[in-house]
């Protein structure tokens, strides 16, 4: 099967090169590959970055203290993304443009823009979710001390993410990757007055850096093997099936790049940063830790899909990917059950859903993984913004202070319910379609020689049950029963509820873009309209009815058990948790002791040593340099003073004294007698005349 697919791909490739007329080439030649709309697409990532710098410089004096600029830039991205999406839907767009910015030996470093199905989907996603979240943030961040700075870093983040997804090569991807990392550090630590938040920001940054080492090494191996940073050149080598340096090192390149993806996409065991990253403001969680930043890893796997798909190249890594994704989706779902912090429940849920996406990529289901990325971005940012709205109302993150909120905040409640239904995968909400496609793809992969996929399929089905359980628990604790917090909660202002409604619309309808066998524009966008990348992807011909008949009842059972345990109002957390499962509950509550293990095994031993080393360096090297510079400038000052006082001053004083002395001598000649002067001048003339005559 695979060989026929690759033959097909090769035909397209060769036909495109020769300008021939095979079927594939005709399909490609119908695409838009020029024209002002695609050629100016680089504005998509330049505009938010320019906005970020303008807000830093002039934000406080601009209208709405910088919010307007950030909001308009996201509006621009949304409109441009939508236009490109419509173009891609109707005609298809494939356009790559790069400019050379430097060279390392034979390797050319380029900067450019990729406008194809995959990146257009991401432009649209970042634009729409970003625009709605920025709108919401105006209400949520109202009165914040660093309001302007927040929107500057938020725009920087959006710009970084767009740089990442617009990248046609590995170098630009890494630049975008790091911009996203830096802005996430700034935003997680936004409330830095509380030291715990600083720790969270550091943790996110460090864990990501560890993963980034993998990304760098993988990128270097890949670039050196192919002699190019361009994705298209890598894909070309893969499609042609060239045995060479790339195929030789493909396993390591693929594995290292996947480690990079594991960091950004919070895969087990590098997931630890994401729940802590909830320390940032809620709009940040919605945009970065649910919808866009964490999808970067999945996006990278999608970009390099043929590389991972081909058995000749990194095919072996696919089994690692599916296992990591499967473990993540299964293990992390349970952690959400024990959490009291409403945002942490959603955080572990996000990690678990990212596990689904990664596992789908590992199962060779390119479209399914990206489709889940697409739908998840809408409903998870909806859930985060809903949680933000609740937090805004009750001034607490803990479900202990909530309860009964459906009466006080009907809009938040209903949109939250829609998000929940989409997340747990109830027909016809978005999550149903994407999760079903992932599970169907795993089943297909399991039936086609990837044995481990069968095991992961079981985990995936179990994960769907767990998802239903913990979401029901959270909805019950938050919106049902009696209110347990302080004061009278109130519905959030319109600027916060409208984005919720907008996202609820997407959370409902996004799934309809890929109804297997009936209406599949999404498959066309990201698969057939990214030349060569989506080839080899399996698209289900229709719904997998037996699978749905297993999963949907299981989800309903999960909802039922959740409601049975948590639906009845109880006063204290202890009563609520009375059903605790003996061994597992402490294990989950302590997050499988992974964080403790990292703390004991890595952080504590190294933290002290690193701190001491830094202290030593500070005291002995930096201080020495500083003191040396100080001493040197003191000596220099002495020299300067000596020069000034003893040399320069004496010159000036000497000149003055000379003038005075000569003046006192000469003044005696000036008697005031005009005739004497006349006589002198006559004598002078005579003297000159004599000189002339003599000489």
């Amino acid at each position: 099967m695979m060989s026929t697919l690759f033959t097909f791909a090769t035909q397209i490739h060769l036909a495109a090169e020769e300008g021939g007329h095979s079927d594939g080439a005709e399909e490609l030649s119908g695409f838009i590959d020029s024209g002002p709309i695609v050629e100016w697409a680089w504005l998509i990532f330049v505009v938010p970055l320019v906005a970020a710098f303008l807000i830093v410089l002039f934000g406080k004096k601009s209208p709405f203290k910088g919010w307007l600029m950030a909001w308009l830039s996201m509006g621009f991205v949304m409109v441009y993304g939508t236009v490109l999406l419509i173009l891609n839907w109707t005609q298809g767009v494939v356009y790559y443009n790069q400019i050379t910015v430097g060279e390392i030996g034979d390797l050319v470093i380029e900067w450019g823009v990729a406008v194809d199905g995959l990146s257009i989907m991401m432009y649209f996603l970042v634009g729409v979710v970003g625009f709605l979240v920025f709108t919401y943030a105006k209400g949520y961040m109202k009165g914040d001390v660093r309001y302007t700075w927040f929107f500057a870093s938020f725009s920087l983040f959006a710009g970084g993410m767009l740089v990442l997804v617009a990248s046609p090569n590995l170098i630009q991807l890494i630049v975008g990757w790091e911009m996203v990392g830096v802005s996430s550090y700034l935003l997680i630590g936004h409330y830095w007055e509380d030291y715990a938040n600083v720790d969270a920001a550091n943790k996110a940054f460090m864990v990501n850096k560890i993963a980034d080492a993998g990304l760098f090494l993988g990128a270097i191996i890949m670039a050196v093997s192919v002699q190019s940073f361009r994705f298209n050149d890598v894909i070309d080598v893969v499609v042609r099936g060239e045995a060479g340096m790339l195929s030789q090192y493909a396993f390591w390149a693929g594995l290292l790049l996947f480690i990079g993806a594991m960091g950004k996409s919070a895969q087990f065991p590098l997931h630890v940063w994401l729940p802590d990253a909830m320390a940032g403001p809620t709009p940040v969680s919605a945009l970065m830790h649910a919808a866009t930043m964490v999808t970067a890893g999945v996006y990278l796997l999608g970009r390099l899909f043929p590389f991972y798909f081909s058995d000749m190249f990194a095919g072996d890594v696919r089994n690692i990917i599916i296992v990591v994704g499967g473990l993540t989706l299964f293990l992390m779902g349970f952690l959400a059950i024990t959490q009291k912090d409403i945002k942490k429940v959603l955080a572990y849920s996000t990690v678990s859903q990212l596990g689904y996406m990664v596992a789908a990529m590992g199962a060779g289901a390119y479209t399914a993984g990206l489709f889940h990325l697409f739908t998840h971005a809408f409903f998870k940012s909806l859930l985060f913004l809903g949680a933000g709205s609740v937090i805004h109302a009750v001034h607490s993150n803990s479900v202990d202070d909530m309860g009964g909120l459906r009466k006080y905040m009907p809009k938040t409640y209903w949109t939250f319910i829609i998000g929940t239904l989409a997340l747990i995968g109830i027909f016809p909400f978005a999550g149903f379609f994407s999760k079903d496609e992932i599970l169907a793809s795993m089943k297909y992969a399991g039936g086609n020689g990837q044995d481990v996929a069968n095991f992961i399929l079981v985990l995936g089905i179990a994960g769907a049950f767990v998802t239903a359980f913990y979401m029901t628990r959270m909805v019950a604790l938050t919106f049902f029963g009696e209110y347990k917090g302080h004061g009278e909660p109130h519905e959030s202002p319109a600027i916060m509820t409208w984005p919720l409604i907008g996202l609820a619309v997407f959370a409902t309808t996004a799934g309809w873009l890929n109804i297997p066998g009936m209406f599949t524009p999404f498959t066309d966008w990201v698969a057939t309209r990214v030349p060569l990348v989506g080839l080899g992807d399996h698209h289900p011909e229709g719904f997998d009815i037996p699978l749905i008949l297993i999963v949907t009842p299981l989800v309903l059972v999960g909802v039922g058990i959740g409601w049975w345990l948590y639906g009845k109002d109880r006063d204290t957390q202890a009563e609520r948790d009375s059903f605790r499962i003996p061994v597992l509950w402490p294990l989950w509550q302590n997050l499988y002791y992974i964080d403790d293990f990292y703390m004991a095994a890595i952080v504590r031993p190294t933290k002290g040593a690193i701190a001491n080393a830094v202290l030593w360096f500070d005291l002995n090297v930096i201080d020495a340099v500083v003191n040396g510079v100080g001493a040197a400038s003191q000596v220099l000052a002495r020299v300067t003073r000596w020069t000034d006082e003893d040399v320069v001053d004496s010159i000036y004083n000497g000149a003055g004294a000379l003038t005075e002395a000569s003046g006192s001598v000469l003044r005696r000649n000036f008697s005031g007698r005009v005739q004497q002067y006349a006589a002198f001048s006559f004598l002078g003339v005579v003297a000159i005349a004599v000189l002339f005559i003599v000489l």
Binding site: L666, N669, F670, S671, G672, R673, Q675, A678, A679, F682
Partner: protein, 101 residues
């Protein structure tokens, strides 16, 4: 009549003028002596103009300029002397020593 006699005349006139400038106490007489020196110069210019047969008669024209400027200078000089006399009731140059260094 040779050029020597005229130059001698000019020399005598110049010397008398110089003597007057350096020795007279009365400022008016000093001014008059200056006029003598200028006259000597004029004589010299005219003599050499004729002697050298200058086609443009530059010497004679210069002497006319000098006469005109000397008239203006005497006008200014006499006015200054008059003002000094009014202020000090004297025009004795020996007493005008306020320029002493």
């Amino acid at each position: 009549m040779t050029v020597v006699q005229f130059t001698l005349l000019a020399t005598v006139l110049f010397s008398l003028g110089l003597y007057g400038v350096l020795t007279r106490k009365n400022a008016v007489l000093v001014l008059a002596s200056v006029e003598l020196m200028l006259a000597a110069v004029n004589v010299n210019l005219v003599v050499f103009d004729v002697y050298l047969q200058d086609a443009l008669h530059a010497g004679q024209i210069f002497s006319l300029f000098i006469i005109a400027i000397a008239a203006a200078e005497v006008g200014v000089g006499i006015a200054i002397v008059l003002l000094i006399y009014r202020n000090r009731q004297s025009a004795d140059v020996d007493q005008l020593r306020s320029m002493r260094g």
